[in-house]
Amino acid sequence: MTTWDQFAQFVFSGLTTGSIYALIALGFCIIHNSTGLVNFTQVDFVSLGGLMMYTLFLGLGLPLPAAFVLGVLAVTAVGGLVERLTIRPARSREITVLIFITIGVSILMRGLFKIIWGKNQMALPSFSGDSPLIILGAAVLPQSLWIFVITLLVVGLLHYFFSRTRVGKAMRATSFNPRAAALMGVDVNSMILLSFALSGGLGAVAGILIVPITTLSYDVGVMLGLKGFAAAILGGYGNVVGAVVGGLVLGVLESIGAGMITSTYKDVIAFSILLLILFFKPGGLLGYGEKQKV
């Protein structure tokens, strides 16, 4: 294999995981924009997506597309439930307290998953076989292509949603200024609910797409989710375009670093990138900037 082929290989595998990070990062962003929170249950939305797919597709034997859609819808509903049952009734609006509520829910959810699906590793088949295609000298799994296509589709739909639809625009208005949005007749509470549901759906898509490549376990989303969090910061926390860019950049850098330098410290690479960006360009690649008004 030439160096170029190797490089292309790293880039493709980086883009694959990067797409997943991007989807997860989008979930973090959307909730951050509607509430200012870091929602740690995002990582469990990813696990739950994979776990639902396992049950619906392998357990109940539903056709793949149906299992996919139902899985995503189920986690979307769970996302909404998390908001309704824990964030909404909270007596404090203090960010620190709310973030720790999501951490508590995350522990609770993982506990439940462990009971329901057990601690063992599970495997899910790829959507369409495992014989790699050779593209630009790199062997690319068909699952990677599915990941590219579906991520692209999701990002396109989100873009349409936020820029063209009434509800999407209302959500954006809420993120800029909830009070002003409320005065304009936007039901801010519903927007927050919607943001949790949407993030649940995004997490589920990420989980369903990636588990055929990795393996599945009740806590598969934790490491993926934390990398998604890093990706969101890399792109500029709260910046939707930044989340996608951050995810892809992080995936590729991580893959090249792991391939060319050290694979033992693969995870260290991703989080070192996170620290470097925080130290030298805390607004992220695309910028979020500090909101400070005096």
Partner: protein, 600 residues
């Protein structure tokens, strides 16, 4: 030092506990609680007072443990110097993380520490030539001081809890000091804290470093206690548990944090009866506490059993009606309009702004503006919305650095100097949108105002070194004096957030005037106030002016401006268009055009 009773009870419990249990398992649990309590005490300072979250304290705890373990076993360093070296190294690493992330506003520390914890954990796991195997680092000796070997649970118990007790006292001292107020102030409002002389970035870094050194100490003790350490102990989930102890116990409450530590350290073992349902219950309990008792268990219990009462201070002395602010001027009353000539010589200039421009993303907010402020005068800065008035105040008070130009204050070039530095020179300010520290009492708000005038820092405050108590008393006395002048003395112990809008504005003025500044900048002091309140503020401004303090006033209320100003400077679209006595300004054509539109 209050909290005597609590400390006495704690000391009693600490001494009696080992004598009352026979099962060594309980002593072991107590030791782990003690170790956690040391980490949590530091975290509580960081979260509850500086308002910053770290999700990396398990890593600092781990660094303490591994540094000590490696130094002692691999390099044969004695445990005590090894522990101190470990603390130092941990503190240095924290400094490297803290400096870049804490100079920013917002929650960058939590993101950085998440990443840091994951990195440290992986390195400990993978670098087995140094850290032993992924399963752990064995063979660490017991702690030894001279002939005393800490080789039993009980000996370690007294050591751990002795240190924990000490650290709780240090924390209590710190939070009840000038430094503690500074920290809470920056949590409440960073720009306001800075404008009163609190070095916000430095304070945040210091408290972060101190908290990591506590964690490192606890980690070292853990290593010598268990003589075996493994990477699993120091993962991010333990960081989360530690922060949980602070938050669910009671953010910013030393006793609450201790209670949270006891509760959440023992909870997992209590929940062992639920076997595999353990995590579910742990998560559920955490969520329920945070939903229903967001201020933590301790405050929750207190509020349940005792009706909230608000004590009012008994030792308020009668107002002697004396002068509270003095700058040597002897004017005894507010002179009638325009009595002081605006055409003074340069001798009286205290602040001189020369050709200052500032540019926000291509928009010239100020273009080549020059203005002088004279000693003992009220200078008003007026202009239509968007004229650059607040920008000018922000430039003068060190929040924005001008793109060009120079600013001198009493002859010293101060362009680009930070707010806290200017506060030290005697320049303070109020804010257009209220920036009272809503997390503090009225009295404490005013006490923060004296930050720049006083100097006891972390070490003095924590160890209550000689002179600290005296300074503290002086600060409180002065604060009451100022509160009386502002007729806020009955509300000294109220939470600042319980006050009306108008009263909060007075608190802000009181706070900024407490240090007896040479110049105060007032940004729309009467916006949103009714006529009575406005008259009151007008009188206050007159009074402070007559006591010799110079004032720069930004205001839209023209009656107020024309009534109390000695000179008026008018800005429009970032440029100075007029300057003079109030009567002159009222007739100035450029000014009339700017406000009413041009006639032609």
């Amino acid at each position: 030092m209050k909290h005597y009773l609590g400390l006495l009870v704690l000391a009693g419990v600490i001494i009696v506990f080992p004598l009352s249990v026979s099962n060594p398992y309980y002593l072991n649990v107590a030791n782990i609680i003690g170790l956690n309590s040391i980490v949590v005490a530091g975290l509580n300072l960081l979260i509850g007072y500086a308002g910053q979250i770290s999700l990396g304290h398990a890593a600092f705890y781990g660094l303490g443990a591994y540094f000590s373990g490696i130094l002692t076993v691999t390099y044969q360093v004695n445990p005590i110097p090894a522990m101190l070296l470990a603390m130092l190294a941990t503190g240095l690493i924290a400094l490297l993380i803290g400096i870049p992330t804490l100079k920013l506003h917002g929650h960058y520390l939590v993101m950085a520490t998440v990443g840091f914890n994951l990195i440290v954990n992986i390195i400990i796991l993978q670098w087995d030539s140094v850290t032993g195997s992924p399963s752990g680092f064995p063979g660490i000796p017991n702690l030894k001081i001279g002939a005393l070997v800490f080789d039993t649970d009980q000996k370690m118990y007294y050591l751990i809890w002795g240190l924990s007790f000490l650290i709780i006292i240090l924390s209590l001292n710190l939070v009840r000091s000038r430094v503690g107020r500074g920290l809470r102030a920056l949590h409440g409002s960073e720009p306001a804290a800075s404008s009163l002389g609190v070095q916000t970035a430095r304070y945040k870094v210091k408290v972060f470093v101190i908290s990591t050194m506590f964690a490192s100490l606890a980690g070292s003790l853990y290593a010598y206690y268990l003589t075996f350490i493994s990477p699993k102990t120091f993962d991010i989930f333990f960081s989360i548990e530690l922060v949980t102890m602070v938050i669910a116990g009671g953010i910013g409450n030393v006793w609450g944090a201790l209670l949270g530590t006891v509760f959440f350290t023992t909870l997992p073992s209590v929940l062992d009866v639920f076997d595999e349902y353990k995590d579910i219950f742990y998560g559920l309990i955490l969520v329920v506490i945070l939903i229903f008792l967001p201020q933590g268990v301790l405050v929750g219990i207190k509020e349940y059993f005792f009706a909230r009462k608000r004590s009012s201070d008994k030792d308020i002395q009668a107002d002697d009606g004396g002068r509270v602010f003095s700058r040597g001027s002897s004017a005894a009353f507010c002179p009638p309009l325009g009595r002081i000539s605006p055409d003074r010589t340069d001798d009286g200039v205290i602040l001189s702004v020369r050709d200052v421009s500032i540019n926000f993303g291509g928009i010239m907010a100020l273009a080549q503006v020059s203005l002088d402020l004279f000693e003992g005068q009220v200078t008003a800065l007026i202009g239509p919305n968007g004229a650059g008035k607040t920008t000018m105040i922000n430039v003068v008070s060190g929040i924005h650095r001008p793109t060009e130009g120079s600013i001198s204050f009493f002859g010293q070039e101060v362009k680009g100097k930070r707010s806290y530095y200017l506060a030290g020179l005697g320049l303070t300010r109020t804010f257009q949108n209220n920036q009272t520290f809503s997390n503090m009492t009225v009295l404490e708000n005013v006490m923060v105002g004296l930050h720049a005038k006083t100097g006891k820092e972390f070490i003095s405050s924590m160890f209550h070194l000689p002179g600290t108590g005296r300074e503290e008393k002086a600060i409180e006395q002065r604060a009451w004096e100022v509160l009386r002048f502002f007729r806020l003395e009955d509300k000294g112990h109220w939470s600042a957030s319980a006050l009306s809008f108008g009263e909060q504005k007075r608190v802000e003025m009181a706070r900024a005037l407490a240090p007896n500044p040479r110049l105060i900048l007032l940004d729309e002091p009467v916006a949103g106030l009714n006529m009575t309140e406005t008259d009151e503020i007008a009188k206050l401004i007159c009074d402070i002016r007559n006591q010799g303090i110079s004032v720069l006033l930004v205001e839209h209320d023209m009656n107020l401006v024309m009534g109390i100003s000695d000179r008026v400077v008018v800005l429009n679209y970032g440029r100075k268009i007029a300057e003079g006595r109030p009567q002159e300004i009222q007739k100035d054509e450029a000014v009339l055009a700017a406000y009413l539109g041009s006639v032609d």
